[in-house]
C-alpha cells in the first residue's frame, strides 16, 4: 500500500478467539488469516520461546484497503500478565470454540465473556458431524443462559469461520444498538 506521504488512514478492529485446549483455536485463526499466525508474550520469552503457555496467538485478516481485522487467541490460563486485558479492550466480541465431546473445557471462556459482558458466539467444533440438537443439550447441561448465538464451525473450513465471524459481528451490532436478541 502506498500512502504517497500523506497521513495514512488505516483502521483496525479485533475479535477474541477463546476456548479450551485442542478445540482448534490456532486452526481457526490460521484458516482465515492472510498472514502466518504469529504470537507475542506479555513477558520476555527467554528460555521458553515465544510460543509458551503465556503467549497470545494472532492473525490478520485484511478486510479492505484501509481496514484490518485481527483475531487474537490469548493463552487459556489467565495469569497475572494482562494479555486478556490487552486483547479485550475495545474488542468487537468473542468466539468461544467448543468441542461438543468436551464442552467443559470451554466453559471458562463462556463464563469469562459473560462476566465482562463481551458479545460472543459459541462455535461448536463438531468434527464428527454432531448437530445443533446435541449442542443445545450440551449448553443446557452447562446451564449457559445463552442469548449468545450458537453456530456450527469446523475450524479447518474458511467458509464456516467466515459465517461464524459474520454471526458474531451481527450479534455485537444488535447488542450495541441496545436491542436485545430474543432468547433462543
Amino acid at each position: 500500500m502506498d500512502y504517497g506521504g500523506s497521513r495514512p488512514l488505516l483502521t483496525s478492529a479485533k475479535i477474541v478467539v477463546a476456548g479450551g485446549r485442542r478445540v482448534g483455536r490456532t486452526t481457526f485463526v490460521t484458516s482465515i488469516a492472510d498472514t502466518d499466525v504469529m504470537s507475542f508474550a506479555a513477558l520476555p520469552a527467554e528460555g521458553v520461546g515465544v510460543t509458551g503457555l503465556f503467549s497470545t496467538e494472532f492473525g490478520r485478516v485484511t478486510l479492505d484497503r484501509d481496514l484490518m481485522l485481527y483475531l487474537f487467541s490469548p493463552p487459556q490460563q489467565r495469569g497475572p500478565h494482562h494479555e486478556w486485558d490487552d486483547v479485550l479492550d475495545g474488542a468487537i466480541g468473542g468466539v468461544v470454540l467448543l468441542d461438543v465431546t468436551r464442552p467443559a473445557d470451554s466453559i471458562d471462556a463462556i463464563a469469562f465473556f459473560e462476566e465482562c459482558d463481551l458479545p460472543y458466539v459459541v462455535a461448536l467444533n463438531s468434527f464428527d458431524g454432531a448437530g445443533h440438537e446435541q449442542a443445545s443439550a450440551v449448553l443446557e447441561a452447562m446451564a449457559v443462559a445463552s442469548r449468545a448465538p450458537i453456530v456450527k464451525c469446523d475450524p479447518r473450513d474458511r467458509g464456516f469461520i467466515k459465517r461464524t465471524l459474520i454471526t458474531l459481528v451481527e450479534h455485537a451490532k444488535i447488542r450495541r444498538s441496545g436491542v436485545e436478541r430474543p432468547a433462543v
Binding site: 495514512p8 483496525s12 494472532f58 478486510l63 485481527y70 451481527e170 450495541r176
Partner: protein, 180 residues
C-alpha cells in the same frame, strides 16, 4: 504531515538523543541481544548492569504483578529496558497499526528504531511488531510510543479508544467479512 516535526532528535543523524530519561537512553548501553541473553552469561557490561540496578531501585511498587519466582528476573529486565515506564502517551492497543514516517532516516537513533522502521514500511500492528521483534508486548508498546513521540512512526486509528467499537465500524467489518 507527521506530528512532532520540531521535536529534538529530528535534525542531523549525528545529533545526541534528548536529555530526558528515556527508553532510548537506557537502550544506548545494551542491545536487544545482550538484554535477552543477560541471564545466561556473567555480567561483564558494567554500564548496562548499573543502569539495570538503578532502575530496579527506581521502579514503581509491584502493585500489578504477582510474578512467579522464575520470571522475576525477566520482569526486572523488561522494566529496566523501558525505564520503568509501562504506559505510553499514545493510545497503543495490540491491534493499533503503526507505519514509518518519511522522516525516519535522520531521527532514528537506535539500531532497534531502524529495525522497527524496516518492519513498518508497510503498516503493522503493535502485536506484529512485538511478535516479529520477539519483544514482550509491554516493551514493544513503550518502544513504539517512544518512536511515535519522535515522529518516527504514525499511529493509526483503532475501532475504539479502549471502549466498545462503534456501529459504523462494525458495519464496515461486516461488509468486509461478507466480501471475503
Amino acid at each position: 504531515m507527521s506530528s512532532g516535526a520540531n521535536r529534538p532528535g529530528r535534525g542531523s543523524a549525528g545529533e545526541e538523543p534528548p536529555a530526558e530519561t528515556s527508553f532510548a537512553e537506557l537502550l544506548n548501553g545494551f542491545s536487544f541481544d545482550s538484554v535477552l541473553r543477560r541471564e545466561r552469561k556473567p555480567r561483564t557490561d558494567d554500564d548496562a548492569g548499573r543502569v539495570q540496578e538503578e532502575d530496579v531501585a527506581a521502579r514503581p511498587p509491584e502493585d500489578d504483578f504477582d510474578p512467579p519466582g522464575e520470571e522475576s528476573a525477566s520482569i526486572v529486565r523488561a522494566y529496566a529496558w523501558t525505564g520503568g515506564r509501562t504506559k505510553s502517551e499514545f493510545a497503543l492497543q495490540v491491534e493499533t497499526m503503526v507505519s514509518a514516517t518519511s522522516a525516519y532516516v535522520a531521527a532514528a537513533m537506535q539500531a532497534e528504531h531502524h529495525e522497527v522502521l524496516e518492519l513498518c514500511q508497510h503498516p503493522r500492528s503493535v502485536a506484529e511488531v512485538a511478535a516479529l521483534m520477539r519483544l514482550p508486548l509491554g516493551v514493544a508498546k513503550v518502544l513504539l510510543g517512544d518512536m511515535a513521540g519522535r515522529g518516527l512512526i504514525d499511529v493509526h486509528e483503532t475501532a475504539s479508544g479502549g471502549t466498545a467499537p462503534d456501529l459504523g465500524l462494525m458495519e464496515r467489518v461486516l461488509s468486509g467479512l461478507r466480501r471475503l
